[in-house]
């Protein structure tokens, strides 16, 4: 397959997944803002969301430390100047699909095209910060639809494998960040006094990962931060777990291996093994936060290496 084509389908996968992950992240923070809160101010939560998603500088440059909910929501979901807003991710997915519309199925192209046209046509009227819940639902619905179209219509060739790699690297990154935001908020809440853990935010997080019922079914544990981290990181059978994403990255990479990609495969294997054989007890000195940051760093490294090995990218050394 043409390297440029592979590059476009890889980024099609990444941007589509990023839009969905952002919607799910937004879902958590938005729902929490509706709960009767005890300590942390809402603004702190939004600030931590921005910094964990690496948006703090871009946001701060324009809005300073004004972390009013509607402003942050608008920035994350609809802002046309934020290249990673959900709206722009949908656009980027569509542009990548358009660039390779001859190499993907017509149904795929039409789905990504229709999603973008509908998003553009409805923002800022039907889709806006005031109506963000509806928008989140819609983004998730369109993501489900796109996933079905990909599974049901795309040839299982290299293009499919590159798209899957993009999807699952992005998912691992997004889920790791989502967990980090929650942990950071938790830490900000900690006033030093012994508190019984507030299980509600973690329940909301599980729901946003479409995993609350699964958690209840497979785990006898209470909803505590560490149990949720364990569940979201190490379960092999949960669709949005880190292990499952790493597993799929490894498999799809093996399917397209070329003469240069040995080291990249090894590193994908290391990430997979970390999650496959990891437990709460082996998180290391830095605890869950440092572990998640390590996952994020490794995902970034794999992204760069895939670009160099397959997609014709020149990566500065």
């Amino acid at each position: 397959m043409l390297s440029r084509t592979a590059d476009h389908v890889y980024w099609l996968g990444r941007y589509a997944e990023r839009a969905e992950n952002l919607a799910r992240t937004l879902d958590v923070q938005y729902r929490l803002s509706l709960l009767p809160r005890k300590s942390t101010s809402e603004g702190v939560g939004w600030g931590l969301t921005l910094s964990t998603l690496s948006f703090a500088d871009a946001y701060g440059a324009r809005f300073g430390d004004n972390h009013e909910a509607h402003r942050v929501i608008d920035f994350l979901a609809f802002d046309r100047e934020n290249p990673s807003s959900i709206l722009n991710c949908l656009r980027a997915a569509r542009e990548n699909a358009r660039a390779v519309r001859g190499s993907i199925s017509s149904e795929m192209w039409e789905t990504f095209n229709a999603t973008w046209l509908e998003a553009r046509g409805n923002a800022p009227n039907r889709f806006s910060a005031r109506n963000v819940a509806e928008f989140i639902e819609w983004v998730k619905y369109r993501a489900h639809l796109a996933r079905g179209v990909v599974l049901g219509s795309m040839l299982r060739d290299e293009g499919y494998h590159f798209m899957q790699m993009g999807t699952f690297l992005e998912r691992a990154d997004g889920v790791a960040r989502l967990l980090r935001i929650r942990l950071a908020c938790e830490a900000a809440d900690n006033t030093g006094e012994p508190v019984t853990h507030d299980y509600l935010p973690w329940t909301v997080l599980l729901r946003a990962l479409s995993a609350y019922e699964i958690f209840r079914r497979v785990s006898r544990d209470r909803v505590t931060p560490m149990h949720v981290v364990e569940f979201a990181a190490f379960r092999p059978d949960v669709p949005r777990s880190l292990l499952r994403s790493a597993d799929l990255v490894f498999d799809n990479l093996a399917a397209v291996a070329n003469t240069r990609s040995g080291e990249t495969q090894r590193r994908a294997g290391v990430l997979h093994a970390m999650l496959r054989f990891g437990t709460l007890d082996t998180l290391g000195a830095g605890g869950a936060e440092a572990f998640l940051q390590d996952v994020i760093t490794r995902v970034g490294d794999l992204n760069d290496r895939i670009g160099r090995d397959f997609l014709g990218h020149v990566v500065p050394t």
């Binding site: 390297s3 592979a6 001859g102």
Partner: protein, 476 residues
């Protein structure tokens, strides 16, 4: 060569002068009469939304956010009888054969110049002549593998060739998508009429391209070369690559090494044998043509000259579709094939000839004057509808460089009923059939019918508000 008397009312494709429905339209006309206008309106809206979703659009330069535009699609088909099509197809076949023979001759022995049919300066002073092609043999001696011949009907319905497009003719994707749309919107019409299929065009195109691969290549790798997603015809490039099941490449995806052309793939370099290019000669190889071209492939011309890759259409075909060469095509048919042309040219005055220049200046209000190198309906004067000021302006431009212009009578192009805001009304149309030349000549029955949507307008180009129609060739 005075023009045939222009009838006051142009002939209509559906109705005779006394209002009778012509035979090919009889079934359709019965259906149309019974169809309420509101239903037609709904179908048209449905077509628009489908075209948007499917992304059958042309990009408009400088517009962002996926603001590609639709080419308006008209839901009333243009219908030709089997007999009309046979006559037309035979003429197209003959014409394209002669044009290919002409290009081969120009880049080899130049018999036609020695015979005095054309003068050497018509060739060598023409910037479409490519000296790089002189003496180069191309597979099968075919240069214009894909030709789009623009045909109009005038007078009592005779066909005239308006223009030959032998470089990178576009529009075939609309022929295919318009048919798909009609079958989706009006399946019942296809049960009532025996419409010859066009869906196999991409298969024929691929066969045709493979048939002109460099000799000795058993399973040729064919690619479509596009300038990229920002090109106005990008949809068509992607569409044809997808329908043929071949890679759509940009210049940056190709490179030349050891005399062969390769594409960069995820598994390393892969040889390319046939390039169906949709970029102009000038941009193909920065080492030979425009050095500022970022769209091309450095070294491509050397691989081409060594016979390691086929470029379709060949480089230098522009020498045969230039408007200054057009008046000579009937003579080419006689010279190379020893036959009388089956398809007529529009009588054309070449303004580098003093007599033609004098006549034209005296009759500007009757004639259409075109720039020799103009395209897309730009740089054109339509005398009868132009203002006095426009005609004066054009007179000065002609006088400054008469060799840059030709003049033709204003043809009363045929009209075809078209669904416009006011309902069904006659609009002027043309037809671009696509002629494939390789081991043999293939023409899919039909073509792209373009329609000037403004009442009275003769300009059918999409850049100037033209639309398209499905074109039906009925089977016997």
């Amino acid at each position: 060569m005075e023009p045939a008397a222009t009838p006051v009312v142009p002939c209509d494709e559906m109705y005779t002068a006394d209002g009778q429905v012509r035979a090919p339209y009889s079934v359709y006309s019965d259906w149309l009469i019974r169809e309420p206008e509101e239903a037609l309106r709904q179908k048209r809206a449905e077509a628009d939304s489908l075209f948007h979703r499917v992304g059958i659009t042309f990009a408009v330069y400088g517009e962002q956010d996926g603001n590609e535009r639709l080419i308006p699609f008209d839901i009333v088909p243009r219908i030709l009888s089997a007999g009309e099509w046979r006559q037309l197809a035979a003429g197209l076949r003959q014409r394209v054969q002669a044009l290919n023979a002409f290009i081969a001759d120009i880049y080899h022995g130049q018999d036609i110049l020695r015979a005095g049919v054309l003068s050497p300066e018509q060739i060598f002073c023409n910037n479409q002549y490519r000296p790089e092609m002189q003496g180069l043999d191309v597979p099968g001696g075919i240069y214009a593998h894909i030709a789009g011949i623009d045909v109009v009907r005038a007078g009592q319905g005779e066909f005239y060739v308006l223009e030959d497009n032998l470089r990178v003719p576009s529009g075939v994707s609309y022929m295919l998508e318009d048919r798909k749309m009609m079958m989706r919107l009006f399946p019942e019409l296809f049960a009532l009429n025996r419409v010859a299929p066009v869906e196999h065009y991409p298969d024929r195109l691929l066969e045709n391209l493979a048939s002109v691969a460099p000799t000795g290549v058993a399973a040729p790798v064919v690619v479509v070369l596009t300038p990229g997603a920002h090109n106005s015809a990008y949809f068509e490039h992607a569409f044809l690559a997808q329908q043929m099941g071949v890679e759509l490449v940009e210049g940056q995806d190709l490179f030349v090494r050891g005399g062969f052309v390769y594409m960069r793939t995820t598994q390393g370099p892969q040889r390319v044998d046939v390039i169906y290019r949709r970029i102009d000669d000038d941009f193909l190889d920065p080492l030979v043509f425009r050095s500022d071209s970022a769209l091309g492939v450095p070294g491509l011309m050397s691989a081409y000259r060594a016979g390691r890759v086929t470029i379709a259409n060949a480089i230098g075909t522009g020498i045969a579709d230039d408007k200054s060469i057009y008046p000579c095509v009937p003579d080419m048919v006689r010279f190379y094939l020893g036959e009388e042309p089956l398809l007529a040219n529009v009588p054309t005055r070449v303004l580098r000839k003093p007599d033609d220049l004098a006549y034209t200046l005296a009759h500007l209000d009757e004639l259409v004057v075109k720039e020799v190198h103009g395209a897309g309906g730009y740089g054109m004067l339509i005398g009868p509808t132009a203002s006095q000021a426009e005609r004066e302006d054009f007179r000065l431009r002609i006088l400054a460089a008469p060799e840059k212009y030709i003049a033709q009578p204003t043809l009363a192009l045929s009209t075809c009923p078209t669904f416009v805001e006011q309902g069904v009304a006659p609009r002027h149309i043309d037809l671009r059939p696509f002629v494939l030349s390789g081991k043999e000549i293939t023409i899919v029955p039909g073509g792209l019918t373009r329609v000037a949507l403004r009442a009275g307008s003769l300009v059918v180009n999409s850049s100037q508000g033209g639309g398209t129609k499905d074109t039906w060739v009925l089977e016997d």
